[in-house]
């Protein structure tokens, strides 16, 4: 059995190596408040009512959404529109007075069975409500594949958060799964991609550098 110590080791490694870089000349004391998030709505063809569950951390800096029916498929047993499913998370993000700098991270986990020649895509669109600008990140899996998958997107919130300090605005994460039969034989086989969970977090307690509101 693998020991879970590996997980923590990597975490330390992550913060020690990736997050250590010092930004000389910036304020050393982090602001006392934090960016906090709440999930306002969860909806989409991949997460109809009653199929998604949300668990928010007690300090509102992280959340987990789990799905019971978020699966895109092609081939035997599939209907013509099943190749693409989506689920949009609408988050209320509160940025307190005093700073606008943080790191946001999203982790997507699931399972895929892709026949040889088939492919699957997990894609997430990130955007603030009312803004046309979206950022899309996609991850492709190629068959033959038959195992769990996991993707991580990270972003510098300072680049995303250009709303006035102290205000809240809804932030959307629109995820989608797509499966393409490609050169596989959809009359004899099935390829599918399922999402088990989406995790989001905003890390402001591990400060790299702080930007003060004017």
């Amino acid at each position: 059995m693998r020991r879970l110590v590996v997980a923590a080791a990597a975490i330390v490694a992550f913060f020690a190596t990736t997050m250590t870089p010092g930004h000389a000349g910036l304020p050393t004391n982090p602001p006392p408040d934090k960016i906090v998030i709440d999930i306002a709505t969860v909806n989409g063809s991949g997460c109809p009512a009653g199929t998604a569950a949300v668990a928010v951390s007690p300090d509102n800096t992280a959340f987990t959404v789990t799905y019971s029916d978020y699966l895109a498929q092609v081939g035997v047993g599939s209907s013509s529109t099943d190749f693409r499913k989506n689920c949009q998370l609408n988050l209320a993000v509160h940025v307190p007075q005093g700073f606008t700098y943080a790191i946001a991270e999203a982790d997507y986990r699931g399972f895929a069975h892709l026949e040889k020649g088939a492919s699957g895509v997990e894609k997430a669109n990130y955007y603030f409500q009312g803004h046309s600008q979206t950022t899309a990140i996609s991850h492709t899996l190629n068959g033959a594949y038959d195992d769990n998958w996991q993707n991580t997107d990270t972003t510098d919130v300072a680049q995303l958060v250009y709303l006035p300090c102290g205000e809240s605005r809804n932030f959307n994460i629109n995820t989608e799964l797509r499966v393409n039969a490609g050169t596989s034989d959809p009359t004899k086989t099935t390829s599918f991609m399922a999402m088990d969970s989406t995790d989001g977090s905003i890390t402001t307690t591990y400060h790299w550098a702080w930007k003060t509101c004017p």
Partner: protein
Amino acid sequence: MLKQLTIGGAAAAILVSLTPATHADTAPPADRITVDVKTVNGSGCPQGTATVTELSDNTGFTVKYSDYVAEAGAGAGSTDFRKNCQLSLLVHVPQGFTYAIAQADYAGYAHLQSGATGLEQANYYFQGNSETVAVGHPLSGPYDGAWHNTDRADVAALVYKPCGVDRILNVNTELRVSTGDSDAANTTSYMAMNTTQGGVDTIYRFQWKRCS
């Protein structure tokens, strides 16, 4: 703007820097580690199919499933060979220590044809953290009977946040069945999970890590 992050490679190298707590503390803390089941959801445990019972002192819980079955072969749907059920657990680690052992027991029934295989696997990760640890228990057919698997984890190693901060631990279990060399056209193999039991025991005989 956004970019992918790769963490994987760093894991093994830094094990040394994580090795917890060389300074032992004599007095154990008065408080306990507790666990609350926040959500239960997945393709193997859709809404209304799982019941949670928590111990009165919040040191453990039991989840019972009524419809957590993965199956393959005759009569099975093409995506039924893999089902999952994710538990989101709020693990409370009180100020002042910690060291403890977490244990999870998984039990169910399996009917696997000769040549078929089954897998019970639990994937553990902390919310907001990319690192996932998978612990799997394979079964080989022919098999027809109950199965029971136990995972034990060092919670101190899992707790990376500053002491006193509560964090959600996700335990994503899955069942997979493969028909393998069995006769998939005429026979069916399946694996079902009936219960998951989890617990956190605050163990005092190990070393303590004091919060700074």
